[in-house]
């Protein structure tokens, strides 16, 4: 049965939010729309933080609320802690100003 403390907002999301502390080595089950998915945890994930519920390749979009919340900066296998160390934003990138990439990305 799906763990109610691992919340996937929209079925197309590739991350879940942990509403309890999750430990590396745990096997967890998440509800994704009408489906259930079982994942081996590779990292500890604390209350309020996110975990990948599928394999996400470097550069791919991280999806929550059914929308982009940024891009993966490395390969993120299912069960990995997803946060500022492996995701980057696409907005307000003054550090890229002058590059073609600076154009704001919207959905």
């Amino acid at each position: 049965m799906a763990d109610r403390y691992l919340e996937v907002v929209e079925p197309e999301d590739n991350v879940a939010t942990a509403l309890r502390d999750v430990e590396a080595g745990e096997t967890v089950t998440v509800a994704v729309g009408d489906q259930e998915r079982t994942i081996e945890m590779l990292d500890d994930v604390n209350f309020g933080h996110k975990l990948a519920i599928e394999d996400i390749a470097d550069g791919e979009t991280i999806t929550k609320y059914g929308k982009s919340i940024g891009n993966a900066t490395e390969d993120i296998p299912a069960g990995t802690f997803v946060h500022v160390h492996n995701v980057e934003s696409n907005y307000g990138r003054g550090d890229l100003a002058g590059d073609e990439e600076v154009e704001a990305v919207s959905e």
Binding site: K50, Y91, A104
Partner: protein, 388 residues
């Protein structure tokens, strides 16, 4: 029942509080204002570092914000204290207050020949207003008069999953069932959700205005030459699990619900009288955003917080709601409504909405919020450009 007990004003507005405010027009009047407010019980000091050496757009914004507080529905009367002949003119501000039928007074430190005389005059004027205000009684008023401000603070990943949903439920109850108004803000926190938000606009003009203002914020931030990640999400947001500004934004927008948007107004500008949901164009900086929404005339504000927050406003009562069980423990004296049972317990979002709504009704009828009881308040006018 769709009435509450409020204070009638000559300009037709109805207040839920009956404050005497003492407004500084420039930093050099701040000390006189603070000292007078220390002496006169119940007087609210409005101080800030602005009001001179600003370019026109900033002068307008400063003046509009100060006038918004001096003529707020919750304001009985205002004493304006100026230092000399600054660009924000004290006599003009006091005159604009008087036009609303509110008692007003203008004190100028140079004209009074010093701070001691100015303090004396300020105390005299404020004391008289406080005493007259205390004689005014609450009368029944229609709830359609009320404007519900919304802001988030120290957001985390629980914000968009729980407390923002309860907040949206309560504000739309005021709009749909009672004909009131709502106002949310924090334009840079629309990043990532601006397209969907703009599609809620009542017409194409408002839709384009929302997109233009979001685009302007992105340009302003890029023009600093720095990655917005240096400032957003904030370190406390990141501690709470928020990874990017887009994730913060998508959660933040949950607090506005999904109903139609009537208009987007300038920072500190008056929120229109017609029923419905409005946006104010403010930064995500909570103290600046809340100050702007208060200037717009919101009667009260729900601050929907993830990790707990002290953000508050002296003229527009603020109540905090959280759905994060750890936050309710972390800052209990700042948590007016704890709905964490809807996130990690057996309660529903409908229950959480009812909990918030009941507290809102008590507060508009005179119950003080925790931050009012604690005497906490911050005031920060957003500035557009550099000082000169």
């Amino acid at each position: 029942m769709s009435e509450f007990l409020g204070y009638e004003r000559d300009d037709g507005s109805i207040g839920i509080r009956n404050h005497t405010v003492i407004v500084s027009t420039a930093p050099y009047a701040n000390d006189t204002v603070k000292r007078a407010a220390d002496i006169v019980d119940d007087a609210v000091p409005i101080t800030h570092p602005l009001g001179r050496c600003q370019t026109k757009p900033d002068v307008f914004q400063t003046y509009r914000t100060l006038l918004g507080y001096a003529t707020h529905p919750n304001t009985y009367g205002a004493v304006v204290v100026a230092h000399a002949g600054e660009i924000v003119d004290g006599d003009e501000l006091a005159g604009d207050v008087a036009e609303t039928g509110r008692p007003s007074a203008s004190i100028n430190i140079h004209e009074e020949k010093g701070v001691m005389n100015a303090l004396d005059a300020t105390v005299d004027a404020a004391r008289e207003m406080v005493q007259d205000a205390s004689a005014q009684r609450r009368v029944p008023a229609d709830m359609s008069n009320l404007t519900f401000g919304i802001n988030c603070a120290t957001s985390d990943t629980t914000s968009g999953l729980c407390q923002h949903k309860a907040t949206a439920g309560a504000v739309w109850r005021l709009i749909d069932e009672h004909g009131g108004r709502g106002c949310f803000a924090e334009t840079p926190e629309f990043f990532g959700g601006e397209t969907e938000l703009s599609e809620r606009a009542v017409n194409d003009e408002v839709r384009q205005e929302i997109l233009d203002r979001v685009g302007n914020w992105d340009k302003r931030l890029q023009a600093t030459g720095y990655d917005v990640r240096g400032a957003q999400p904030t370190p406390d947001n990141m501690d709470g699990g928020l990874t990017t500004i887009e994730e913060k934004s998508l959660g933040a927008l949950v607090k506005s619900g999904d109903g139609p948007i009537q208009d987007i107004v300038d920072y500190g500008a008056k929120i229109p009288d017609q029923s419905g949901m409005y946006i104010m164009d403010t930064p995500g900086h909570g103290a600046e955003s809340v100050t702007g929404i208060g200037a717009g005339g919101a009667h009260f504000m729900v601050i929907s917080t993830g990790q707990g927050h002290t953000l508050s406003n002296a003229v527009m009562p603020t109540l905090k709601i959280t759905g994060n069980p750890h936050s309710a423990e972390r800052v209990p004296e700042q948590t007016d409504v704890d709905v964490s049972e809807a996130l990690v317990g057996d309660e529903t979002i409908e229950w959480a909405t009812d909990e918030l709504w009941d507290e809102v009704i008590d507060i508009v009828n005179g119950k003080v919020t925790l931050s009012e009881a604690m005497g906490e308040s911050q005031f920060a006018i957003h500035r557009i450009g550099p000082s000169t």
